[in-house]
Amino acid sequence: MTLKVTLITGRTINQGATIENKTSSDYMEATACCELNSKDVALLGKPGANVRVKTKHGEVVVKLKENNGNPDGLAFIPMGPWANAVVDPDTKGCGMPGFKGIPAEIEVTNDKILLMKELIARYK
Amino acid sequence: MELLIKNGSVYDPSNGIKGDKTDISIKDGKIVEKVSSNASVIDAGGRLVMPGGVDAHSHIAGAKVNMGRIMRPEDTRAGIKPRTKITRPCTGYTVPNVYAMGYRYAQMGYTTVFEAAQAIMKARHTHEELEEIPIIDKGALTLFGSNWPTMDFVREKNMDKLAAYVAWGLLASRGFGIKCVNPGGGEMWGFGKNVTGLDDVVPNFDVTPKDIIVSLMKVNEMLGLPHSVHLHCNNLGKPGNYKTTLASMELAKQVKPSKDRQVLHVTHVTFNCWGGTNWGDFESKADEIANYLNNSENITTDMGQLIFGSATTMTADGPVQYANAKLLHAKWANGDVELEDASGVVPIFYAKQVSIHAIMWAMGLELALLTKDPYKVLLTTDHPNGGPFVNYPEVIALLMSNKKRQEEIKTLHEAVHKRTKIPGIERELDFNDIAIMTRAGHAKVLGLLDTKGHLGVGADADIAIYDIKPDQIDPSVEHAKIKSAFQSAAYTIKGGEVVVKDGQITATPMGRTYWVDASVPDEHTEIMMKDIRMKFKNYYSINLANYMVQDEYLTHPKVVRAGVIPAEVS
C-alpha cells in the first residue's frame, strides 16, 4: 500500500538534544523517522516498521512512528539528513528551500535505514 | 609625533580667534605651545582651520540604527563603495554601515560624535557598534526617562536613590549622560498608550513627565555630570507641540547648573516647535522657541534640520513612530525594552512639494537664525531623522547664505511663505558662528570644552582644514563652494594624525569611547540596589549578573569622572 501524504519537516526535542552528536545512534533514532497519525500508520502497517518516503526530489528509508497530533495525510520527519533527502531544493526566489508541504508517497519496505555516513556517501 | 599647521586662517571661537593667521603645534595627539624643528609641517596656505567637528546628537550605533539597516536594504544599496587598501566597504545613505559612519564624518572634518539614545539593557549592542566605527571619538547617552526605577524614585521623591540609579545606570551602560525621551510615554507605550502633556499621570507609577524631567535635572546637577539632561520633549510629532516644548524649557528654571553650561538641552527642535492644531493649519513656531532662548540663560537646543529626500526616523519615542507609520503607510519597527523605554524606526521621504515638509525645513533654519547666540542652537539633522549627517554642509551653506535660502524657497510648497518666517529672515551666519554651531557649542553643551571643540593648548589635536580662504570668499554668493568645501575636508587630523587628505581617508585609527563614572555615597547605592535586585528577581528577563556592559566592549575607553557634589558646595 502506498500512502499519499503532504510532508513537513521540523525540530523535535530529541533531534535538538542530539544535534551536536550526529554520528550517534541516538541522533539517528531521533531523526530517521516519519510520524503519521495512528489511522495513517494502520493503513501502512505498524509503528516501528521501515518505510520508504518518496518525493519528486528523492527517497529515503526511515522508521514509522505514531503521532496523533497529525491530521490525516500529514507526515512529519524531524529535520536532518534523512528529511533532507526528500525535501524540495527550490529556493523560490528567496533563498529558502521547501522543507514543508512536499507531496510524498510512503510505503513499507524491508530496506534498512542508512546510517548518516552512508546516507551522505550517496551524494559523493 | 610632532606636527605644525602653518598659515591657517583659524576659527577657534572659545579662544576668541576669528580668522587670525595662527600656527597650531601638535605633539602626541595634543595641542601644545610649540614643537621642535623636527615636526612635520602642513602649510594651510590661508585656508580655513577649525577644531574637529563635534556632534552632540546623532544616531550612529545600537539596536535601532541596526534595525534601520536590516529593514532598509534599499537604503543600504544607495551608498555602496567597495573596499580599498585602507578602508572597508561602505554602504547606505541614511543608515550607513559602521565603517561609512566613521569615514564620512571624518571626511567632513568631524572627529567626535555622540549617539543620542541607548537603553541600558541594549547598551552592549551600542558599544559593539561603537567599537567598529573607525576614526572618530564617540560616546552614547543613556535613556532614563521611562525607566521603572527612575519613576519609582521620582515618586518616592528620593533624589539620593535616583542619583545613585543614574550613576549606576551610566556605569551599566557605559553611558555619557542622561537622555530623556518623551518621559513617561515610553512606559505608557508598553500598553499602546502615550502621555499627552507634562502633567499627565503615568498609570501604576503615579508620576508626571514634569516630575521626571525636574528630578532628572536635579540629580544631573547633584552628580555634576559633564552634560546636562538631554530632552526629547513630550508630544513630539503633534501639531501644537511648541507649547509643551516651551513648558518643558520653563522647568529648567527650577534647577541651578552645577557648572558652566545649560541645565537642559532640548533636542531636535524641528520636530517640536510645531504650531497649529492639525495638519491643515500646521505652522512653524520656531520663532517662539528662539524668542524664549533669547531670554533665558540655561537652555540649549539643536536644530534637527530637515533635508529633502530619503530619511530614516528612529527614536525611543515608540508611540510617535507608530503614528508616523500609520500616517505614512510605511514599514514600522518597534523595539520596546522591558522596564526601560520604547523605540521605533520608520522610513520617510521628505518632499519639497509637501507643505508639512517645506514648513519643517524652515523650522530648523528659523531657530538657528532667530536665536541670537549660536551657542544655544547646535547644528544637527538629528541624523538620520531629519536627514543623514552627510548633509551638514548643505545646512552650513543655507545658514551662511540668504541667497541660497531664497533660491531654495522658490522650489518649495507655497506653505513655506505663509506658515513660516524664513522668507523674511536675512541674517547670514559667519565662520565664527558656524564653528560654534558645529564644534565649540557642541563641546560646551557636552561639557567637553576642556579637550574638544577648541584649538587651545591642552586640547585634543582634532583639527579640520577646509579648502576655503575665508578672506577671499563671499559665502552669501559662493554658497556652492562653501558646501563642497565642508563636504570634503582638505585635511582632517584626529589625535594629531592625518586621517583625511583632500577628502580621502588616509588612515583609520580607532577613536575612544567616552563614558561617565559618577560617584555617589555607598549607602545610597546600597539602598538603591535593593530595589534594583528586586526588579531583576521579578521583572527583568535577564539576571543582574549579565546586565552590565563588560570592559571587553570598550577597548579604547575615556572615562570622565563626576559624582555627587557635597551639600556645602551645591
Partner: protein
Amino acid sequence: MAVITDALCPFCGCVCDDLTIVTENNKITEVKHACKLGAAKIMGHHRIKAPMMRKDKHSEFKEVSYEEAINEAARILSNSKRPLLYGWASAVCEVHKKGILLAEELGAIIDNTATVCHAPSTLAVHEKGLPSATLGQIKNRADVIVFWGSNPVHAHPRHMGRYSVFAKGLFSEKGRKGRKVIVLDVRKTETANMADEFVQLEQGSDYLVVSALRAILSGHADVVPESVGGVSKDALLKLVDTLKTGKFVGIFFGMGLTQSKSRYKNIDNAISLVTELNAFTKCVITPMRGHYNVTGFGNVCAWETGFATAVDFSRGAPYYNPGETAANDVLIRKETDAAMIIAGDAGAHFPADSVRHLARIPIIQIDPYWNATTEVANVVIPVAICGVEVEGTAYRMDGVSLRMRKMIEPTHPPDTEILEKITERVKVLRGE
C-alpha cells in the same frame, strides 16, 4: 570543584542566563536549570580530536597539524572564484566579525544558518518592518500569547516558563491563569495541547488565513468566505475578537511560517496584521530564532555590511539578494567552487541537491563536532565550543545582546584564531 552561576545557555534563541554549572578538573559535571537541549550541549559530546585532511572525498582522513590544515584551507579558498562561507550561528559575534573580514578578503559569499530558518523573516522585515519588544515586555504585560507555526515545547523548551506563557511580571502577576494562549499550526503539537485555543490550519494556507484575519479586522468580514485554509469563519471572527480585546498581545512564529508555501510573504502578512492590531491594542511579534546566536550574525552582518545575511562580496562591495546570493541558491546552481562551513552543518540541514554539490567541491569544515558536513569535507579543523569554552557576545531572539561565559578551559583553539590565521595566509598567497 567550581560553580559558575548566571551562566548563559549556548543552545537556542532563548539564551537563558540563569544556569548553574558545576565543574571539576576542567570537566563539566553538572548543569542546573537548563532544559534537555541546553544540558545535552553543555555536558558535551564526542569531539573531533585533531585537524584532519584527506586526498579526496572517498579516502580516509589523516590527522595533520593546525598549520597544515590552515594553509590548505587558505589555499583552497584563495583559489576559489565563487567561495561560500557558511554557518556561523553556533559561534559568538567575535567570530562573525573575523568571518566577514575573510569574506571581504576573498570576494566570497557569506551566509548563515538563518538561510534555512528565519532569513525569510528578514525578507519580510524589509517589506513591513518589525513591531517587536524584548521578552521581558511579554513577561510583564502580555495577556494574549500566540504561537504560530512554532512549537516551543520541542524547540525552545524554557520559553514558556521564562518569558511567555507561565512567566509572572508586574502586570501579569497571575502568570498562566491570567493569559490566553492560542496556537495556530497544521498539527496538534505538544504546545497546542497546552493552549486555550488551538486553530488547525491546512498545510500551506497560513497566508490566506492571515489575510482573512486582516480583512475581518479592517471591517470587511463580509468578503471572507465561510472557511479559509480549513478554518471556519466563526473561528476566525472569534480569533480576531480575542486579539483585539487583549491588553497586550505577543505573537511568536516559527518555521511553520518561514518554510511553508508563500515563504516570507506569510510573515510579511503577519507583520501587517500586528501593525493593524495596534489600532486596537498593543501587539508585538517575535521570530522564534533557532540557534542561540543566529540573531547575532544578522546584527553583526548588518552593521558591518548593511545587509543582514547572504552577502556577496565578489565585486568588493556588499551585494545582497536572497534567491540569488543565499547559500542554497548558489549550491543548487552549482556555482560554488569551494566552501568553508563553520559553526553550522550544511551537510545535515541542506537539501540533497545542495549536499550533492558540496560533495563535489573542496570543503573546509571548522567545528567542534563530527557531523554530516565532515563526511563531505576535505579539511577539518576542530575548534573550541563557543559559549562553553569561549566567551563572547550572543544576541537573544529579541535582539538583547548578552555575554556568553567561559565554563571550562578549551582543549582546542577558538574559531577566531583559526579565521585570523586563514585570513593572514590568504593575504600572503595573494601577495598582499
